[in-house]
Assembly symmetry: C2
Homo-oligomer: 617 residues x 2
């Protein structure tokens, strides 16, 4: 596993799929550049994401800034809660994630300490399992208990304390407007709900989408491209009536079958199993059709990209993993050398986010369903008598009025009864931090029949959120294989990318260095450019075999070898099969295959196969 | 002009081309969201940029993080010099850009003060002209002189002082690693030069490209989308041998003619004039072919997008505008309601950036030209005798050694002569801040003949840098027009986007609300999706005329009206011409036109024109 990973990572770094950022300055942990092939793979993945989600589903795409004022992230809860627990080396000040240290300690004990008792082993396993739920105090106690010290220096550690993972900055020159680099793109969509709903003709359901950078100031980045400090997210917020989460296109995905890992199976210790999506929804395993529809669409997206079906599963969050407001949540997890990695989260977040911004901003982020006929409803009406309240509470009047108006139906009707029987009532005003006495003449409470023409409600949000870098890294591992060179003396690396994601669709090699062949290569290059096909010309004098090996290592699906002035050899990467195609036709043949209109096998039967000049030495 | 701008901006905001960010929280100056049509326009512009530059020129695209450690921006000069001069309201602390206040003051005097003397008027005009070159002291003196106070409060102002425009943050949990949000994407390319050069087979010239967010914490953002705090840049760094700046494809652009505004013409008070690009280069107006080639390619890029040729000019920087290291610099300026706006900068930055990072990092960012035959050269060899220097200077030895080794040829040969004649010499060591005495036994200096197999040099960089948001805003203004409605009672807004940039390529309207037509509309929608064409279905019962108006306002080039179950009406936006096309064919006809394979006029002759049912009421 380690050796496999090392082989993949070596190839990726050597061919500049990615590069540690700012390498000449010894780099910064958790920051990576995409070099030319990595950048092309990323652009292809994002273009396909736009096609598969935004275009096919008619989503409203938006593009919001990364710099975000504090108030927005205060409302969303990130300022207060987007933290990891950290400990400091008490002498050097080096910081560590408290849960990582504890986990590493337990793992090492389990793996390397032969004298460990069965009881102790069970304890360590339990700690690893429940680690995510430990409070700062519990983590601190365990670290103290086990005598864990700083890994590098063995110095004592501080008690764990929360560290906010957002990069903080200041907006404008005055220094009084704190801001953060957004930790997710979703908030930009939520704050625009009103405009987007209007843009959609005031109709539900609709989805908005955003692709963009997100930032998390990780305490100790690990696992290469999987846990980084800046990354590209692609997020969808699908707004839906909470009373109707059906989806008109669910039938199109209902017959898909793939690995699912429902909550129940995890708790009872079973493994993930193949389930038909339609059954998962009708059987109540997946909360609703819309959530199910997106699970199916995500499955299709990932497998089209080349993710191995056998190493892809949809795992439901356990009850304690989920935010309290979430109705249901599934992660698309992909297995790679680091284990099962969460790459897409698909959550029904109910009305939480829109409510939070409604409360903080005072702007109602709601939808309305117009009734065909007006409906009669009984409505609670609370009318504070401001004059009396003013006399009684002076400067506190406003707080008392607001508290009265905020009463729910039950509380209000109880107050009405008490006022009628006793003439006054003790009433708790939280904003004043005390009880006040409300008299009968200070408020009238009644129920009135009203005709309503519409139902106003806060939509639910179903959010598929894609970690693009993680998907791409897993794709690299799933696409990588080695095969012996023709001489058998070395292993050659190949990425079996589908044409959809391949960084370059085609290479062009003049068989030998001469002007005639180079002219032909240039003509072919021009026709490839005109057809919108990315290519690379390799005019080095290296052997054809070496040039094929180089291009296989970049995952280029097709190679054109110029070995005459009328026709060329076209070679496919994985089968190494070769056909002869005329110079005029070759660009369109390449386009057919790379656009997915024809498979290589279709093409193979239409052209003579080739076995002479341009064989792989 | 103001009225025109207001009409454009109203349309743009109403149709969500853009939205002030975080509007429900009263927004943040200088931050804007792109709504659905704006986002689609931006994606189209960027896709075309990739096609026109990266793909056609085989550039190496990279994708680097926004978060940048201080050392990188220290080397580039941004930490020390990326500042604007700011003044503060001494009572409220509100900040203003000093040059803006002075400019506004002079402009207002010139425009609104009828009693102004001719002498004074000339002075104000001069101040506006040379404003950009004022030092903090000069600006402060003028502000004091003219008695300028804070615009909102009339309070006195502080003296001007520099404010760094980068958003600052901190990387990692320790708080000891300052970082910034990058103010441009270029540095990410420069620090990767070595890897990219290797990737390109150690050959020059080659170009790297990057599209990404950049950040500038403007003191007082103005002019809507033109001066913002976060924006998308697309930058190219073309690395070239400083001794050979010819370009193999220059002949392809040499015959282009367009408005150029050479330095000489600006100084002598002339206007921009039409020049053939080939003459501009051969006549020495443009410094070299490569710079000229990019000017031509930028011209093609902007005009393909729909920028009006008559309101596009290439203005050369004046000598005092240019950085001291730059060989030549041209801005593509587009005229809009705010005047001539710099949208693309095309600069020959010579070896400055690579040298700066070489010096700071110690990693040589150089290229080599291998000679066909080794060449004999005379080389200066300075050999400090470390033992003697150590005895003489102890802890300062290192500084003395470095200073000796850094001597140029002339200085070294003079030292050699003095040492031979007098046995010792006074030598200034800047890093010590004093002179030291060098004796004959401390250093040997000689000239030796050496065979060299290659020439090692720092490449020059030619940098075209595109402000994507500015280009898009100018495109909006250039594409906007109004025409009377059929009744003549109102003005309808139209964006005449070419299909290449249109946010949606096609709309689909069932003529009346019935199930049959809606079924047909759905079938057409499916075939459009399959053909990769973005569309919008409008099934509202509104009149066809209103629906056309709505879609014209989004700049949608084609509209399909479903008015039978066998064929449909296809209508072009600007001519309002209509043809009849069968349901089976319509997607491919739309694709032909929007992909640019056929023009509307080509199509017009192949299908019957239409004038009955679906006329614009």
């Amino acid at each position: 596993m380690e050796a496999f990973r090392q082989a993949v990572v070596n190839t990726l770094e050597r061919r500049l799929f990615y590069i540690p950022s700012f390498k000449i300055y010894r780099g910064v942990a958790g920051l990576y550049d995409y070099g030319p092939p990595g950048c092309a793979v990323k652009a292809n993945v994002l273009a396909f994401w736009r096609q598969h989600f935004v275009l096919e589903e008619n989503m409203l795409e938006v593009d919001c800034p990364c710099v975000t004022p504090e108030v927005v992230l205060k409302a969303s809860g990130h300022v207060d809660k987007f933290t990891d627990l950290m400990v400091k080396d008490e002498k050097t000040g080096t910081c560590y994630r408290a849960d990582h240290l504890l986990k590493d300690f337990c793992k090492e004990k389990l793996e390397k300490d032969p004298k460990i008792t069965e009881e102790k082993a069970a304890e360590f396993k339990h700690v690893i399992a429940v680690l995510d739920e430990f409070t700062a105090e519990e983590l601190g106690a365990k670290i103290k208990d086990y005598g864990i010290t700083a890994p590098d220096t063995k110095n004592p550690l501080s008690a764990p304390y929360p560290f906010n993972l957002m990069f903080q900055t200041s907006i404008g020159p005055s220094g009084v407007s704190p801001g953060y680099m957004r930790p997710e793109t979703a908030q930009g969509i939520f704050v625009n709900f009103k405009d987007l709903y209007y843009y959609n003709g005031n109709k539900l359901p609709f989805a908005a989408a955003q692709i963009g950078q997100a930032f998390r100031n990780e305490i100790s980045p690990r696992q290469g491209l999987l846990r980084v400090r800046e990354f590209t997210l692609a997020e969808i917020e699908h707004f839906v009536d909470p009373e109707d989460k059906s989806h008109p296109k669910f039938s199109e995905v209902a017959n898909l079958e793939f690995l699912m890992f429902p909550r129940q199976d995890q708790v009872s210790g079973q493994s993930a199993r193949t389930i038909r999506l339609g059954e998962a929804v009708s059987g109540g395993i997946v909360n609703n059709e819309t959530l199910g529809y997106f699970i199916g669409r995500v499955y299709l997206f990932l497998t089209y990209l080349g993710i191995d079906k056998e190493r892809l599963r949809f795992r439901q969050h356990l009850a304690n993993e989920m935010a309290h407001y979430a109705a249901d949540c599934w992660d698309a997890e992909i297995e790679c050398s680091y284990g099962w990695i969460e790459c897409v989260g698909i959550a029904d977040r109910s009305a939480y986010d829109l409510r939070a911004h409604t409360d903080k901003s005072g702007v109602p982020l709601v939808a309305a369903e117009k009734f065909a006929e007006p409906r009669e409803v009984e409505k609670l009406v609370i009318t504070p008598v401001k004059k009396e309240l003013g006399l009684a509470f002076k400067g506190n009047q406003k707080m008392v009025v607001e508290a009265l108006e905020a009463m729910g139906e039950k509380e209000a009707m109880e107050m009405k009864a008490t006022l009628e029987s006793k003439g006054e009532v003790e009433f708790q005003v939280c904003t004043l931090g005390k009880d006040v006495t409300i008299k009968k003449n200070m408020v009238t409470i009644s129920k009135e029949k009203k005709k309503e023409h519409q139902r106003v409600f806060t939509p639910s949000v179903i959010e598929p959120s894609f970690g693009i870098g993680r998907i791409i890294y897993c794709l690299y591992e799933h696409s990588f294989y080695t095969r012996p060179s023709k001489g058998g003396d070395e292993q050659l690396n190949v990425f079996r990318f589908p044409p959809l994601v391949a960084p370059i669709k085609c290479t062009v090699f003049p068989l030998v260095q001469n002007q005639q062949y180079e002219e032909v290569a240039k003509r072919i290059a021009k026709s490839l450019t005109a057809a919108g096909i990315s290519y690379k010309i390799d005019i080095t004098g290296t052997s054809i075999g070496k040039r094929y090996a180089r291009t296989d290592e970049l995952g280029v699906p097709l190679a054109i070898t110029v070995d005459s002035t009328s026709s060329v050899t076209l070679r496919e990467r994985d089968s190494k099969q070769q056909i002869r195609v005329s110079i005029e036709e070759v660009a369109s043949v390449v386009k057919e295959v790379t656009d997915g209109l024809n498979t290589w096998n279709d093409v193979l039967w239409n052209y003579p196969t080739h076995s002479s000049a341009a064989t792989e030495d």
